[in-house]
Symmetry: C2
Subunit: 135 residues, 2 copies
DNA sequence: TATTGACCTTATAGTGACTATATAGTTTTA
DNA sequence: TAAAACTATATAGTCACTATAAGGTCAATA
């Protein structure tokens, strides 16, 4: 199978496949005489794994690490679980930070109705004075 | 005041100040004979405004837009409020997306205890099969 | 047979908001 | 006088792609 077909199956761009190859996430495929890449099912599986990881917002570095674990199947999987735990913590921190930000934005928004001049805009004044932390 | 002092007051790096200048967010300062930048209080206020906006996670483009409004103080402030409303929506979408992701990650994590071999790791299996959307 | 169109190749630059590094000139302090 | 601390510019790196340029290959059509 050539790169276009693999891309279509995986639902991504051919560029992205070449990019993953360059990043060492996909094994180098064989080439036809004309230089075209030829892929097999293993490549498809690898690519699916990468995409699933990306949907979970794991970084390419983390994915590389997971692939190294997969290549050593008799190790304990403690490190994999630890990575996931840390990633969950990371996501939770992001959520908390964004929720705090949301509160600040909403309280700032409450400083103005829509019927003023820029000069008197409560939002702009709030930003200028840096008092967007009030509740 | 020179760039180092301004940076210290604003709590940011001198590089960042030069970067904002290049991005058109800070007016060009006067220069000493030796080429050193000289800043006044207006620059400090501008910089504080930028930093407050960045804390609110507004993009540099949005900040530029807000600055254009400030330079035209007798317009109505509707657009400013609209920008903030849209930004709030944006933040709320991010929160929702991350909360969904968190659920997926937690359910994936529940597929494995720490006492298996990589080969049998429920987390890795879950990623490979792409079934990280189950609750 | 010529050419069109779809596919493939590599290399390079752009995104956003910085941050780091290199190289060099200036001022202040010891 | 020399070292330390500051300033200047220019360039590259971060992350995970995405876009563009310039060209080679192949099958079908006019």
């Amino acid at each position: 199978m050539r790169i276009g077909q693999l891309a279509q199956i995986a639902g991504i761009d051919t560029q992205t496949i070449r990019f993953y190859e360059k990043q060492g996430l996909l094994p180098l495929p064989d080439r036809q005489q004309n230089g075209y890449r030829i892929y097999n099912e293993k490549h498809g599986e690898r690519l699916a794994f990468i995409r699933h990881c990306r949907i979970l917002d794991l970084s390419l570095t983390e994915i590389r690490e997971l692939q190294r674990y997969q290549d050593d199947p008799h190790q304990p999987c403690t490190a994999v679980n630890a990575m996931l735990d840390e990633h969950i913590s990371h996501v939770q921190s992001q959520i908390t930070a964004l929720q705090t930000l949301e509160k600040h934005l909403i309280s700032l928004r409450a400083c103005c109705n829509d019927d003023r001049e820029i000069e008197a805009c409560g939002v702009l004044a709030g930003i200028s004075e840096g008092n967007m932390y009030s509740q």
